[in-house]
């Protein structure tokens, strides 16, 4: 059940998006998020949507694979949607018992949920087409200027890439421990909140123990391979902009100009 989370996974394929520099993709994602939240009417929203659809097509990642990542947040979406739907004041459209739906509420609910869905899909395109190492490399390089202020950028990006590597392993492990404790009669489903939290102890303790054991092993393995911090390290794939990346930047800026021009005009 836990294995179905696709958020943060890499999907190997041969596409234009896969060969782009991670810094371009990071920037594009940022632009996408900002425009998504400043698109306040149907035309602008449609524009963002069409652009996203084009990018999905370019990524060569099956659309069904991206949608699978949404499954884990369906509950969250429904709750957020319902809150917006029922609790926003405005002109009343329908009302029954203690609930009432207003025009603003309906609009907000639709906008909110579709924004969330697009946000997840948009960001997952980045993670699906960029290996975690590239991603952290991109972050390390883009945020490199912060080193001057004493921020350990290299260490943070190394921690992030290791975390990304171990998330699937720990998820699988959680699944296994859960089953093992269920076989001993443990119950992770029923009971109130406090009882449920208490019932998690047999799952969390072994999980922590295992995470520490893995961390210990990994630190030995890294040291054995001469890891000694970011100083003097070279890269197999150093980040270098190609002409493709330049064209991508031009497209992104073109998109920004068209979007905000449309926003002003409309």
């Amino acid at each position: 059940m836990l294995r179905e989370i696709t958020l943060g996974q890499y999907y190997p394929a041969d596409s234009v998006l896969h060969s782009l520099d991670p810094r371009v993709k990071l920037f594009a994602t940022l632009v996408f998020i900002i425009t998504l939240f400043s698109a306040n009417n149907v035309i602008l929203f449609g524009f963002v949507l069409i652009t996203l659809a084009g990018i999905i097509k370019m990524s060569h990642v099956p659309f069904s694979f991206m949608v699978k990542g949404l499954r884990s947040i369906v509950m969250l979406l429904i709750i957020a949607g319902l809150f917006n739907l029922f609790l926003t004041p405005g002109k009343e459209l329908v009302s029954f018992w203690i609930f009432s739906i207003s025009d603003v509420g309906l609009k907000n609910a639709v906008l909110m949920t579709s924004r969330m869905i697009l946000l997840i899909i948009g960001t997952s395109i980045m993670t699906l087409t960029t290996t975690p190492n590239q991603l952290t490399d991109g972050l390390e390089k883009s945020l490199g200027f912060m080193k001057r202020f004493g921020v350990p950028v290299h260490e943070i990006s190394m921690m992030m890439s290791i975390a990304l590597r171990f998330i699937p392993i720990l998820i699988e492990e959680t699944d296994k421990i859960m089953k093992a404790q269920m076989a001993r009669g443990a119950d992770f489903e029923s009971g109130g909140l406090i009882k449920k939290a208490k019932n998690m102890v047999p799952l969390l303790v072994p999980l922590f123990v295992s995470a520490f054991r893995r961390a210990n092993d990994l630190s030995f393995a890294m040291e054995a391979r001469c890891y000694n911090g970011g100083e003097g390290r070279t890269k197999m794939r150093p980040l270098k902009y190609s002409s493709l990346d330049q064209r991508a930047y031009i497209c992104i800026f073109g998109f920004i100009i068209v979007f905000y021009a449309a926003k002003v005009i409309l």
Partner: protein
């Protein structure tokens, strides 16, 4: 000049309390003197806790000597100046394949080492390609390590070391967590490196079969080297090795026992061919054995078999056309079980074997309702377990399940409380819980002084016993054990299997043992089910199943070594029993053939 030279090497693990006072000192290495010449293939043997892993970490300068010196390629490892040079010269591969892969893509992981030592980009790319090709993993270069098998991950780890162009590679139990196929591939890769690239190899292991081909062997115990020599010299003394809880290859064991029975065989037999040749020569010399001692043993064995069979009458579990698919309806659909129909009788001792991915783990997880089949029905004592009125929680107490590496589920503050967890969930009263826990711990043979200790302080084998007790305490009628011996040394393995057999005999319950080790299974169980591609391929007594040794091999499984010996002997015209599956049976049958 030797590449590794240790002189009076001592290492102590010092435990301090909060004020920094010494609490205890554990001597892990005690005066180790050892020399390795360049280009050699060296094996270091020893059971868990013998100090062999501590020694390995010294060669890589991950640990430094408390006393004495260790010189690697002319550099003293205690000298900080050489730390990174030593690590480049002597690369290290660890036991757990998951915990040593740093990157999320295969080639990026292989590049990790060269990147750390500042190799220029162009050269890194060449080295990564070369290293991956050496271990036969080049076509997986853009894969995620999570999608690889254990054996493939270990080969990636080896490539990661090779990319640093070391002179020497140390492998610390690289195959302990792998299935037979993975073991074979990893060993083959290591031997190729040694033969073709002249890399010095130091293989640390407790699998004796892996040692046979090495140039020189060191056997460690209690931090000391207590035996050293060529494999032939080491395996000569089977009795001494057994006393030190080490094992010998089955062929060597069989030859040794035949020699003890008076058959004129060479002093040390390592390969099947040597044994066959030896027996042919013995036959030609007209040797006749004295059979009286052995007849008694055979009689005793038949009696013990009779007890096992008497309990097997009623069917406790029935699987009726059970199928299971992972992610049904998507492109990722995998048929893990394909129309399986089986019945399991009360009191049977069953072994389920199959390679990784054959569906054996999925099958057993159906038996206590942890996985629900996509098709078909399972009956427990005649009741449909998928019926909506059926109490699935009760089924889980009736069919106990011990998972692989069960010690990973321990969580309580004391061993006793942990074992009580199951009975507590069953809703039993305190008195009964304690009684059950006490009985279970007694059955698994854990000494009483550990009952109130934290489960995390126990040794590997003890932890496993405690975890098994946690399932037994629920008094299940059926106990399923998924790879109960994975990662244990030969002594630990024999102890656990002995304990399970003993328990089965005492309680008369149904035991299902999932394993990929044919030799373990053949020694203990009454019935074997071989799983292949989600279906039972063979089902019968060990004799019946291993008679198909050729088909088993095609499935990536192998019959016990003795089965091969017997079949070879038949080809040579000796009248032996092709169905012998254990060393004992083979010995009896060979001795008879001489008569």
């Amino acid at each position: 000049m030797s590449i590794i030279k240790s002189k009076n090497l001592v290492h102590e693990y010092i435990r301090r309390d909060e004020e920094g006072n010494v609490e205890s000192i554990q001597v892990a290495l005690d005066n180790v003197n050892l020399n390795v010449e360049p280009g050699q293939f060296i094996s270091i043997l020893g059971h868990n806790g013998s100090g062999k892993s501590t020694f390995a970490k010294h060669i890589n300068a991950l640990l430094t000597p408390s006393e004495g010196t260790l010189i690697v390629d002319g550099m003293n490892t205690s000298d900080d100046e050489y730390t990174f040079a030593v690590r480049q010269t002597a690369g290290m591969v660890f036991q757990n394949p998951d915990n040593q892969i740093i990157a999320s893509v295969v080639d990026e992981d292989v590049a990790f080492g060269p990147e750390n030592i500042g190799v220029p980009t162009e050269e890194i790319i060449q080295r990564v390609e070369k290293s991956l090709k050496m271990v036969g993993m080049y076509k997986y270069k853009s894969h995620s390590p999570n999608k690889l098998s254990g054996g493939q991950k270990q080969r990636v780890a080896i490539a990661g070391v090779m990319a640093m162009e070391p002179k020497c590679i140390i492998l610390d139990e690289p195959t302990a967590m792998l299935d037979p196929d993975g073991r074979k591939d990893v060993l083959q890769a290591v031997h190729t490196l040694n033969k073709e690239k002249g890399i010095t190899v130091i293989l640390i292991t407790h699998y004796m079969e892996e040692v046979v081909d090495s140039d020189y062997v060191f056997v460690m115990e209690k931090g000391k080297v207590f035996m050293e020599g060529k494999p032939r010299e080491i395996f000569k003394d089977v009795k001494l090795l057994k006393e030190h809880s080490l094992d010998v290859p089955q062929v060597t064991q069989l030859a040794y026992e035949l020699r003890e029975a008076g058959v004129p065989l060479p002093e040390c037999v390592l390969t099947r061919q040597e044994l066959i040749d030896g027996l042919k020569a013995a036959k030609a010399s007209g040797f006749v054995p004295n059979l009286s001692a052995f007849v008694e043993m055979q009689a005793a064995k038949e009696v013990s078999n009779a007890i096992d069979i008497s309990g097997a009458k009623d069917k406790v579990l029935i699987l009726d056309h059970v199928s299971y698919k992972y992610s049904p309806g998507t492109a990722y659909e995998v048929k893990a079980l394909d129309d399986v129909s089986l019945s399991i009788k009360e009191g049977e001792f069953i072994g389920i074997i199959g390679h990784t991915g054959s569906g054996k783990s999925t099958l057993v997880q159906h038996l206590n309702g942890l996985i629900k089949s996509t098709d078909g029905v399972i009956y427990y004592r005649g009741q449909d377990i998928y019926d909506k009125d059926y109490d699935i929680k009760d089924l889980r107490t009736q069919v106990g399940m011990v998972f692989q590496y069960p010690e990973h589920q321990l969580f309580e503050t004391t061993v006793f409380k942990d074992v009580q967890f199951g009975p507590k969930n069953q809703g039993l009263d305190e008195k009964e819980q304690i009684k059950r826990a006490y009985e279970a711990l007694g059955l698994v043979g854990l000494p009483e002084e550990f009952y109130l200790a934290s489960p995390f302080e126990l040794s590997g084998g003890q932890k496993r016993r405690a975890a098994i007790a946690g399932v037994i305490a629920m008094k299940p009628a059926v106990i399923i054990l998924d790879e109960p011996t994975a990662g244990l040394d030969p002594k630990g393995r024999d102890d656990i299997l002995g304990m399970i057999t003993e328990m089965h005999r005492k309680r008369g319950d149904t035991v299902i043992l999932v394993s990929h080790s044919m030799e373990d299974v053949a020694n203990y169980v009454d019935r074997i089910i071989v799983m292949d591609a989600g279906k039972p391929a063979f089902d019968g007594t060990p004799k019946q199943v291993f008679a198909h040794y050729k088909e088993l091999e095609a499935m990536g499984l192998a019959a016990p070594q003795v089965t091969y010996v017997m079949n070879d002997l038949i080809k040579e015209g000796m009248a032996v029993d092709a169905g012998a599956t254990t060393v004992e049976e083979a010995k009896a049958s060979i001795l008879k053939a001489f008569k």
